[in-house]
Amino acid sequence: MTKRLLRIFGPLILAAILVFAVLAMPMKLGFSHVSAERERQAAVSLSPNVLRGKHIKQEALKDGYVPFFGSSEWSRIDPMHPSVLAKKYHRSYRPFLLGARGSQSLTQYFVMQNIQNELRNKKAVFVISPQWFVKDGTRKDAFGFYYSQLQTTEWLTHFRRDAIDRYAAKRLLQMPVAKSDHFIYAALQRVAAGKKLTDFQRFYLQTRKNMLTQEDQFFSGIDLPSQNLNRVNQQAKQLPTHYSYSALDSLGGRLGKAATNDNHFQISNKFYHQGLEKELKTGHLKNFQKHLSYTESPEFADFQLCLDQFARLNTNVLFIIPPVNARWQKYTGLSATMLKQFDQKIHYQLQSQGFNNIVDLSDKGNVPYFMTDTIHLGWRGWLAVDRRVNPFLSKQQPQPHYTMNDKFYSTTWQQLPPSQLAQYQQTNK
């Protein structure tokens, strides 16, 4: 019987041991090289697998790609999109687009966790969408969609017991997706309480991290979407051979005009007909954003996580604040005063801590063909971004000096009404 049993279960046991051994192995296997073509593809793919993963990002960032953190604007690929301009004019950098629809500061904080060495003393670009700063901050389902156990375990194996990581743990515990792994959940509770992890937790997290790292190496490159790379290549063909700002600016105007000619919002026809036109007919959208505010939100503290992470790694970051399409804004009743107040609040959070590279485009919402639709940069908007991004990344920059302050995690700051901002600045000097 023993012989027969061995014949039945031997291969099974052997297979289980082999799989576990390969996955839990702490070192990398030899065949982990990422080809240049795959890096090009991944850099513009906006694939959630790439965002959640590690290996491809890490390899690309080592090869001269620069992380461009943001969200849905990256998918607006027209000839002036940063990826297209960098390719066409053979810039010394290539953008690695990180983020897609629904990804906000908290997601980006965890994205940074496993590319720390690639961020340390390097440069990055970060698009701050005012729309993130709504009353409830990041949507729980969107955060769950981009959540990565790999990034969480990696963070948990190097977290510090300070206000920053305590806040991150508390915030993560508020997300339903944190419960997806019972052991990670228990570890987060200890971090949030300012305690050390137990020996078992450290062992578990280390093993789990190894397994997820191997999985990421084996599988995250499978089935990378290639349509965005094709779009980048297509769009580049429309550009003149030699860079000239004035030529590009007028080209942007022409392309924008042709692409937005069937509605009076200067919203791209394609976007307009994808349901927006139907919605407009109901009339519900008139003044529907009248009472919307971006000035009081937990997102301010989540954003502080990103700032602290940049400061810890001494990353030099160029921040971009995009505007809202002015015609659209007028129609939906979104308050210009409120947008201005948001701008002041975020400026204070950035500048008081030493983040002074800010491309503030918030007053450009009425420049024709600056936006491609309601809230996303297009033709001339991208070009304005490029005017600042290119010198920032191509030329040597002075060392940043960051002076971080944990007060930005407080509820007082998150919920500070704009009317009290001036007074807050005075008392917190």
Partner: protein, 402 residues
């Protein structure tokens, strides 16, 4: 609270392995512990229907108690009397919950019914069959505990295969001898591993990676005749292959697990893509379902029609019954136009297939039969089936009305 799709992830299989180990050792030494089997059944049922899905768990318990009351009551009644109307009433009562669950989404804008739970269809098949065999007199010693084990046998609870009470009871009451049991374990392990290949590699590729792309392409290529395009054709094959590998993979898990528990649950698939005609296809595809329909709907209707002399010719009787049989199957999948169209399509295909077989029999000399005609028959059958699955997939609903 942990909660799992049956056979959904590695943890489930790990738990399954640990739970089955003592049972396996017992069976190797000729012992079957009812208590232990009941305990692990409850454990896996709680994993499947507990936690966030607890409402389904409650629905399951109420439903099973209801079906126990019906089958038990009827078994007691049947010992004394045998009235037709009582029997019909019992069958109707037994299928009422399933009917409600299936009709609710159609009248409530896609909202699921409160009394629904994963696997209600398969439990209903088992209960109805128990009542019918009790009426026939072929099932004489109904026992509540055995019936409960039969209904709640956890490896097959969510999607079959649909076992038969008497067959299950026989396995359940006996212990296979060591030689036989070792053979069953060997088969069971192999089934589970082939299932891994089918469900987690092939079906994953088809369903998660390939199909969304084809769907997107098909949606972008709308505008032609009936919105048809090459991507629609690709989607048809991908969807059919995905359905097969996903369901056959699941069935292999269910049968493999049963074998390790010493129960020879019948197989659900037998190389369906090599069927030379539709009739043969239904003998190889989702076998326990099509045989259930054959035994408890088709055959019964044919007998009823013949007994009451509804149709003159036996051919008409068979044809009408084919259509009814497949329409019922269509409705069972759900009350939407495409499921019903799918049922009707297969009903008609069976009628035509029968007519052709009769014609072929009559003209045996003049119709060639060789590897070429056989190959053509297999090709034609597979494509017809794939087309029916395209109907079934609801893609036309998405293409035309979304």
């Amino acid at each position: 609270m942990l909660s799992f799709e049956p056979y959904g992830n590695p943890t489930y299989f790990a738990l399954l392995g640990v739970a089955l180990l003592p049972l396996m050792i017992g069976l190797l030494y000729g012992k079957r512990s009812r208590l232990y089997e009941t305990l692990i059944s409850i454990f896996f049922l709680v994993l499947t229907f507990g936690g966030p899905k607890w409402t389904q768990g409650v629905a399951l318990i109420v439903y099973v108690l209801y079906e126990v009351a019906l089958t038990w009551g009827y078994a007691v009644y049947r010992k004394q009397k045998n009235s037709g109307p009582v029997f019909y009433l019992l069958v109707i009562l037994a299928i009422i919950p399933l009917t409600l669950v299936k009709v609710t989404p159609a009248v409530e804008n896609g909202q699921g019914s409160l009394i629904g739970f994963m696997g209600i269809s398969y439990l209903t098949f088992r209960a109805v069959q128990t009542i019918m065999e009790t009426r026939d007199g072929s099932l004489k010693n109904y026992q509540v505990m055995t019936f409960l084990q039969f209904m709640l046998f956890f490896p097959t609870i969510s999607s079959g295969p649909i076992d038969r009470y008497r067959r299950f009871e026989h396995d359940y009451r006996t212990v296979p001898d060591r030689e036989k049991y070792l053979g069953m374990v060997q088969k069971g392990i192999r089934y589970i591993f082939v299932g891994f290949l089918y469900k987690f590699i092939i079906a994953y590729y088809l369903g998660t990676l390939l199909m969304p792309k084809l769907l997107l392409m098909a949606m972008h290529s709308r505008g032609g005749f009936l919105d048809l395009s090459w991507p629609v054709l690709g989607y048809m094959y991908a969807w059919s292959a995905d359905l097969y590998f996903d369901f056959a993979g699941y069935s292999l898990f269910a049968v493999g697990t049963s074998y390790i528990m010493g129960i020879e649950t019948p197989m659900n698939f037998k190389q369906p893509w090599r069927s030379p005609n539709i009739k043969d296809f239904w003998n190889r595809w989702h076998i326990t379902l099509s045989f259930w329909f054959r035994d408890f709907i088709y055959m019964r209707l044919v007998f009823w029609f013949m007994k009451h002399k509804v149709f003159k010719s036996p051919t008409t009787t068979a044809n009408v019954t084919y259509i009814i049989n497949m329409l019922v199957m269509g409705f069972w999948h759900g009350v939407t136009w495409y499921y019903i169209a799918y049922g009707l399509f297969h009903g008609c295909a069976l009628v035509i297939n029968d007519a052709w077989l009769r014609y072929k029999k009559k003209h045996r000399e003049s119709i060639p039969h060789n590897w070429l005609t056989q190959g053509f028959a297999i090709f034609l059958t597979a494509n017809l089936v794939c087309f029916s699955f395209l109907l079934f997939s609801g893609l036309f609903n998405t293409l035309w009305f979304k």
